[in-house]
Symmetry: C2
Subunit: 229 residues, 2 copies
């Protein structure tokens, strides 16, 4: 069976699933979707590839699946990946699920909104957000990062659910890398997040850096442009 993975490495969950695939040596055909170019928004794309019109998604022969968490849960069972990445044991799985479900309206919503309103929105519309809006978004993001440290990084354990890395760590880390593009470095404000990010990163080399290469390149471009002003 052929697994085709559709993604854009500038999308946070696309990076998380990409690292998961690579770390688990799951063979796949890469299919890059250029979100910036709006490729996913066409009628043709909707018919031919995905009615959800977003990434990441997979085609596993004739089986199409969207949503990063659903994809990882599916792949973990289809490919029998190592237990720690997505446990099959009931309680251990529930602990990973608890983070993955909490993530959507907390870490993801907080970090992605800050990034979108401050960088992506203005790039698309040419309209800058008000200072008040940026401050409000920053406050909401900092609230969620504070909650994240308090709820999930409160023990001395190196990862969210304990001594071993799981997909929950990948999902969280890839979201928390994103606001750097809009000028906010969570590492400078949250010491537990800083240490934990180092753990995730060093556990997933060389794929962590590989997945974040387009983000780092974009960051350099932004910094260069800012230096010229």
């Amino acid at each position: 069976m052929v697994l085709k993975y559709y993604y854009d490495l500038l999308s946070q969950p696309s990076r998380a699933v990409y690292i998961f695939l690579k770390m688990n040596k799951i063979p796949f055909e890469p299919a890059v979707v250029n979100l910036g170019g709006g490729e996913h928004l066409t009628e043709e794309f909707r018919e031919k590839h995905s009615k959800f019109q977003k990434v990441p998604f997979i085609h596993h022969d004739d089986f199409r699946l969207t949503e990063s968490v659903a994809i990882v849960r599916y792949l973990a069972r289809e490919y029998h990946v190592k237990e720690h990445w997505y446990p099959q044991e009931i309680r251990a799985q529930a602990r990973v699920d608890e983070y993955l479900e909490w993530n959507h309206l907390n870490v993801r919503a907080g970090c992605a909104r800050y990034f979108f309103d401050k960088l992506m929105g203005p790039m698309m519309t040419g309209k800058q957000p008000s200072d008040e809006q940026v401050k409000k978004n920053q406050k909401a993001m900092e609230k969620t990062l504070t909650d994240f440290e308090r709820i999930f990084l409160s023990s001395e354990a190196p990862f969210i659910t304990g001594t071993e890395i799981s997909f929950a760590d990948l999902q969280a880390a890839c979201e928390i890398e994103q606001p750097r593009l809009a000028g906010y470095e969570p590492r400078d404000h949250f010491s537990k997040i800083k240490t934990w990010l180092e753990n995730v990163k060093s556990e997933c080399q060389p794929y962590y850096d590989e997945a974040h290469k387009p983000l780092e390149a974009w960051l350099k471009k932004i910094q260069k442009k800012a230096a010229k002003l």
Copy 2:
């Protein structure tokens, strides 16, 4: 083992899990948390009950779990509930998961924000939202309900994943009932949603009505108050 279920029926996912428990005849000790009274926000609650400070959550003897989707996935395996509610077969499960993951930042975010900004926020702060804000939220909610019909109710099947009901239907239905409290009835604008809601409701009686009793009572109170003005 004792299963203690903490909930408030005015919370959408609390209702969904409540109906799931009742339909599957899973015995539980009910523990009502009064969200309106702010009971969940105290330090004592955080220590004693849940560091997440939200509902629903369960205590299954010494095992504590938050997040409705994580809870249902856990209970489905612990109690061997009927396959259609939350399938164990890999692809059928992935289809239910796909909706449940999509739900957070789409149906839930859209409907809950409309409800919160128009009704809950003003009740808590005494400050009314601007017309512009209400309109913006309504537009976002209608976009997500349009997507919901297009992506998940496009076939002639009575439920989200086909001929049988799953937890995805409960989760979606309980969210879509909520904006009525703020004066918006999705049934009046979306005919496929209207038919599908009838299917979900009639499949889950008497528990659907039982779970929505506090919502209906609140709605009557609001309408009575409005009639007096």
